[in-house]
């Protein structure tokens, strides 16, 4: 029996979508010279000499820096072989002035949970997370420090994707040579997490050398056994200048024998998106 139930899910769910949309990664204030260079659209990296920091900054530069909308479909297959589909709309808009990322996730399907909404606001020192239950007509703010649990009947967890994206990874990353994934050259990055979770303690990421999009990530336990995998469908790798993105992923939880397919629409840039979508008192209303 486990006791980590629903409450842990909110922050995690939203951040999973952050990864999917690439929204939060658009750090409003590049902190290092490398990131500044990459953000400024400087020449591509030299694969032979690229450092870990350069590769990470290159990845983060792929994430949208403007307000946007994406449709997401999550198809999860459980241990029992049953499939479940979840459709969401993701609204993204950075805050004026501070540039803090803000994300509104609104569930469209299935019918019983349609209207359920999340609001994530990037803030220092910690993000703010709100959720809305239409059946109870109630907004609640949530904070959690257990972000490794899978969400919404899928295999996604907040930390999986957050760490993968390099947003809040606390650990040591090193390059471990290059490999070819689906005929594309990749950098291999190994990250040993500072705060190992029971589920996994290190990551192995394969980052496409041309686009800096991670094409594959393995999640490894203490013994080095792969317990989860996230695979991008390299054929869906697209470019909306200057951003590269993938529209299909598969996440497999090898220990539970489950998997989730993530399908994303193209990015629709919405610069006039209403601020009400990102206000904790009105984010759940149809404000677009």
């Amino acid at each position: 029996m486990t006791f980590k139930f629903a409450r842990t899910g909110f922050a995690a769910g939203l951040a999973a979508l952050v990864f999917a949309t690439g929204a939060l990664a658009a750090d409003p204030a590049p902190a290092t010279a490398v990131e500044a260079d990459v953000a400024a659209g400087l020449p591509a990296l030299n694969p032979a000499k690229a450092s870990v920091e350069q590769i990470q900054a290159c990845s983060r530069a792929n994430l949208a820096a403007k307000g946007s909308l994406r449709d997401v479909t999550l198809k999860s297959k459980g241990r029992d072989g049953k499939e479940r589909t979840l459709k969401l709309k993701l609204f993204w808009k950075p805050a004026k002035g501070s540039g803090e990322g803000r994300l509104n996730a609104r569930v469209v399907e299935p019918k019983e949970v349609a209207g359920s909404s999340y609001l994530l606001i990037e803030a220092q020192p910690k993000e703010q997370l709100y959720f809305y239950l239409p059946a109870a007509n109630k907004v609640q703010q949530v904070s959690s420090d257990d972000l490794t649990r899978p969400l919404w009947g899928t295999d996604l967890s907040y930390n999986d994707l957050k760490q993968l994206q390099g947003l809040a990874v606390s650990g040591t990353t090193k390059r471990a040579g290059d490999e070819v994934i689906e005929s594309r050259k990749t950098y291999v990055l190994e990250t040993k997490l500072a705060d190992a979770t029971p589920q996994y303690s290190s990551l192995k990421s394969y980052v496409d050398q041309q686009s800096c999009v991670p094409l594959k990530t393995d999640f490894l336990d203490k013994k080095g056994k792969v317990v989860k995998t996230l695979d991008a469908d390299a054929k869906t790798l697209s470019q909306l200048d200057p951003y590269w993105f993938v529209t299909a992923y598969t996440l497999k939880d090898l220990s539970r024998g489950t998997q989730t397919a993530i399908e994303l629409s193209d990015i629709f840039l919405l610069e006039q998106l209403s601020e009400k979508n990102f206000d904790p008192t009105s984010f759940y209303l149809a404000n677009e």
């Binding site: 029996m1 006791f3 980590k4 239950l133 109870a136 703010q141 257990d146 649990r149 203490k222």
Partner: protein, 925 residues
């Protein structure tokens, strides 16, 4: 049949002679087979055995139980709800800073162990802190341990949360539970990884003054069981061998009496294990009992053969070694083969058992018995022929005492025959009555003694957390989304309420508890109500933690699981609560279908299945033993009578179970079939001796004593060997093995008492005619022509009649009949000469002489007094029968009896037609 048997006897004698002539050939074959076995069993390159050990308890669960499909469905949909390790931390106050610090340290230590998937404790789980529209899910940090207000609030939250209440900490605040999930997927993997042992070691290492730590859970109990069995296996065979070596040394006081049995059982075990290796089967928890059994039994077989050999060694006319071995083989081949067959029958009766492991045990042990019999009949005599040259001067140790004892016991048995048989009958009936009290049951943790760490920890956790034994209820709805409906949830809630009222149920957790907890936390419903609408249920489940909820409800909310922890672990108690739960589940409407599941259910059903086959197994074994005995005695009736002592032994075993409240389960089922096969061995040895002696002495009572005299020493020795071997098991840690040892020893001792007292008393009153005896009895040549009484009978009918009567030897110069005595017996002269005479005027007047074929005493047979004296002139062999014999022959062989009467009438008629009245009168006597 008879010609075949004669051929068989001759062939056996031929084989015996050939074996005696070529001992080196036998040794060479044995060595070649042993080398082949070694090459099969040992990988010399890798320096390891090519024999796997499967330490899991899976073989103890019968396949295809009613609950098996449910269990498989539960595992497929919800994982393994049974497989959590519970670590109990007890102190004065688990919410004190010191206790929380220790719990955190223990949690972290446990998390570091390989194959530990997750550890949940007060300090590792993100606990809810809600209020003012904010929900915080955070772990306790070490700097909060001293915050009394925070801890008080936290404790209140935990104690009132429907899901957490009593799960992470008890309401009295004196016990905290740390739940450890493993990443291993089988018992075998758990054992090989050592994770369970590491958890126990790590947890107990943190125990200190004022802090008590206990570790339990199904993985711990199963791991400890497997580990103990393997440990026991390591020392049992050497211990038995060592102990029995001492016993053999004491019994034979010779080197050959020690090394030869040891080498024999060594070879037998080697061949058996090599065969197991060759067919690629692992040694499991049940089949691991085969080596100690084979070691014990092999030594007992050898003891029989050595005793016989030692007796032959002291026979002056058997100085020639080859002849001595040939005679030995002739003497032992029959009984050893028959005992091998009956032991095998007892074991093969277990093939009706539902447990694959028990069936494998039966086959493996039977194979071992087969190898042992082969070795005892070939290798042992060959080695004895090669190594023993001179006859010892001294008798076997204790031989004289045994002979004296046998004589006393035999006389006692004959003298108090009726008393013994009445006593045996009363005890047998009492045993049958007591056996009606037997109940079926087994315990998960009951295999360990009350003082063992495993048991103590289990009991402590069971008491503190109100239940350890897991049980699940699997509920299927009719359509997807059924458990989003408040009405369905209400029914689940009522079921949970009812379950909590059952005395054996310690805790209940299910979907409704999760929903209550979510409703409380996410919508602020402090009253603990269930969500009222389908939409709210859906949304609460949507926000819930996927992994946790996936253990209780499937992704389309069509099936759900209710997890229980029971305070009992005896399958009899579990069966009682299951029966009530099943009856309650029947009350669900048609749209819901619920069944119980889990290890407890499987074990309970398995014990039921195994024990219900017990009577079948025993009946089969007894029937085959009866057939063997019938064949031996060439009579279904005598076979049945000879089976009675075995029936008594069986009744005593079950009576003892009833008397001492021992429950019938896989272990106790195993003992009876096993011991039945072993116990009957000595009965067969005794009956074989009795047969021979009865033929030789022509007296059942004399034969009963003589047979006891011949077998008392070997059967006492073998029973002592077997009982001692099984008693080695009582020193182990597992109570079921201890019970196995005691029961086996008790049954063997009971069997010895039956063999020594009841069988001689019983058999001395039974006229036993064996096919072999009838063939061996020599009535002389041309029976039908030379003995008028047998005219028109076949040779076999003549011999059968002779043995249904009594063959008596009378020395020369003795009065066989006395004039004036009451008549009643008729005599037929087989060999020798007699004279009939009477007194006339003080003078002895000879009347007639009798020779082979003549009949005398028939006048008295028809109710008259003896009219003359009949005296033996030479040593005489006569056939004597009376009215009772005739009655018995009439009943069993009417055609034979009719012919005999016809012949008797003819003889009488011939007498009447003779001219001399004096002689005629005297001939009838």
């Amino acid at each position: 049949m008879s010609s075949a048997s004669i051929g068989e006897g001759e062939r056996r004698a031929g084989i015996a002679a050939r074996l005696a002539r070529h001992p080196w050939l036998v040794i060479a074959i044995a060595v070649a087979l042993t080398l082949a076995s070694l090459l099969q069993l040992v990988d010399f390159g890798q320096r390891r055995l090519r024999l796997d050990i499967d330490p899991s308890l899976d073989p103890l669960i019968a396949p295809n139980l009613p609950a098996t499909p449910v269990d498989e469905a539960v595992h497929a949909r919800f994982g393994a709800p049974d497989d959590t390790v519970l670590v109990l931390f007890q102190s004065d106050n688990v919410y004190s800073p010191d206790s929380l610090g220790r719990i955190d340290a223990l949690t972290k230590s446990l998390q570091k162990i390989d194959d530990v998937a997750e550890v949940q404790s007060l300090t590792s789980v993100a606990l809810p802190r809600s209020g003012d529209g904010r929900l915080s899910l955070r772990r306790l940090t070490s700097d909060e341990y001293g915050d009394d207000r925070l801890l008080e609030e936290l404790r209140r939250n935990i104690d009132t949360d429907p899901l957490l209440r009593g799960q992470l900490a008890t309401l009295d605040g004196r016990s905290a539970a740390i739940r450890v999930s493993l990443s291993t997927t089988s018992d075998r993997e758990t054992l090989e990884s050592g994770v369970a042992e590491a958890i126990v070691y790590t947890a107990h290492a943190l125990q200190s003054e004022g802090i008590r730590i206990s570790v339990t859970g199904m993985p711990i109990v199963r791991d400890a069981t497997s580990r103990t069995v393997i440990e026991q296996l390591r020392w049992t065979v050497p211990a038995i061998t060592l102990l029995l070596t001492g016993l053999l040394a004491l019994a034979f006081r010779s080197w050959r009496g020690v090394w030869l049995p040891l080498v024999t059982i060594g070879l037998s075990l080697l061949w058996t294990m090599a065969t197991l290796s060759a067919i690629g089967k692992p040694l499991n928890l049940i089949t691991s009992l085969a080596p100690p059994l084979l070691a014990t039994m092999g030594l007992a077989y050898c003891a029989h053969v050595l005793t016989e050999f030692e007796a032959l060694l002291r026979e002056p006319q058997l100085r020639d070694r080859q002849r001595r071995i040939a005679v030995l083989l002739k003497e032992i081949a029959g009984p050893v083969t028959l005992t091998g067959v009956t032991t095998g029958v007892g074991l093969l009766a277990l093939l009706t058992n539902d447990l694959p492991a028990i069936r494998e045990f039966a086959l493996l042990s039977t194979l071992g018995v087969f190898y042992t019999v082969i070795l005892v009949l070939t290798f042992v005599p060959a080695m004895l022929g090669l190594t023993v040259r001179r006859a010892p001067r001294k008798a076997l140790p204790g031989n004289a005492a045994f002979e004296r004892g046998a004589l006393l016991l035999g006389r006692f048995d004959i003298r108090f025959r009726r008393g013994i048989l009445w006593t045996a009958t009363i005890i047998g009936l009492l045993a049958i009555f007591l056996s009606l009290r037997i109940t079926v049951g087994d315990r998960f943790v009951g295999a360990f003694s009350e003082k063992s760490e495993v048991r103590e920890d289990y009991e402590r956790v069971n008491e503190a957390l109100h239940g350890v034994t897991p049980l699940s209820i699997y509920v299927e709805g009719a359509v997807p989304g059924q458990f989003l409906e408040p009405q369905s949830l209400q029914m689940l809630d009522e079921l949970e309420d009812w379950l909590r009222q059952q005395p054996e149920v310690g805790s209940v957790t299910g979907l409704v508890d999760h929903l209550r907890s979510l409703n409380r936390t996410l919508t602020g419903q402090q009253g603990g109500e269930l969500p009222a609408t389908r939409e709210l249920v859906s949304q609460l489940l949507f926000f819930g933690d996927t992994e946790t909820l996936s253990q209780f409800v499937d992704s389309d909310q069509e099936t759900t699981l209710i997890n229980l922890r029971l305070t009992v672990d005896d399958t009899a108690d579990i069966a009682a609560v299951l029966a009530r739960i099943d009856a309650r589940l029947e009350q669900f409407p048609r749209s819901l279908h619920a069944q119980t599941s889990g290890q407890a259910v499987l074990m309970t059903q398995s014990v039921d299945r195994v024990t219900s086959g017990q009577l079948e197994s025993i009946a089969l074994a007894l029937f085959v033993i009866y057939l063997c005995l019938s064949l031996q005695f060439a009579s279904l009736w005598i076979g049945l009578l000879a089976s009675l002592p075995t029936l008594l032994q069986t009744a005593l075993y079950f009576g003892a179970l009833g008397l001492f409240g021992v429950k019938l389960n896989a272990t106790t089922s195993l003992v009876e079939c096993l011991v039945l096969g072993l116990a009957v061995d000595d009965t067969i040895h005794y009956l074989a001796r009795f047969n021979a002696a009865a033929r030789r002495t022509a007296s059942e009572t004399t034969a009963a004593v003589a047979a006891l005299s011949a077998v008392l020493r070997p059967i006492t020795l073998t029973k002592a060997i077997l009982a001692t071997g099984f008693l080695v098991l009582v020193t182990g840690d597992l109570q079921n093995q201890v019970l196995f040892g005691w029961l086996a020893a008790f049954t063997l001792i009971a069997a010895w008492l039956v063999d020594v007292f009841v069988t001689p008393a019983f058999i001395s009153g039974v006229r036993i005619v064996t096919l072999w005896d009838s063939l061996r009895l020599n009535l002389g040549r041309n029976v039908q022509q030379t003995i008028p009484l047998f005219s028109g009978l076949s040779a076999r009918q003549s011999k059968l009649f002779a043995l249904m009567s009594r063959v008596e030897m009378i020395p020369a110069g003795v009065l066989a009949l006395r004039e004036g005595d009451d008549g009643g017996d008729v005599y037929v002269v087989i060999d020798g000469r007699l004279v009939a005479w009477t007194q006339r005027g003080g003078e002895r007047v000879p009347l007639n002489t009798f020779k082979r074929g003549d009949v005398f005493g028939e006048a008295g047979y028809f109710g008259q007094k003896r009219t003359a004296n009949v005296e033996t002139l030479t040593k005489v062999r006569v056939l004597r029968f009376d009215d009772a014999d005739q009655e018995r022959i009439c009943r069993r062989h009417p055609k034979l009896a009719a012919r005999i009467f016809l012949n008797l009438n003819r003889i009488q008629a011939e007498r009447r037609s003779r001219p001399e009245p004096l002689e005629l009168e005297a001939e009838g006597i």
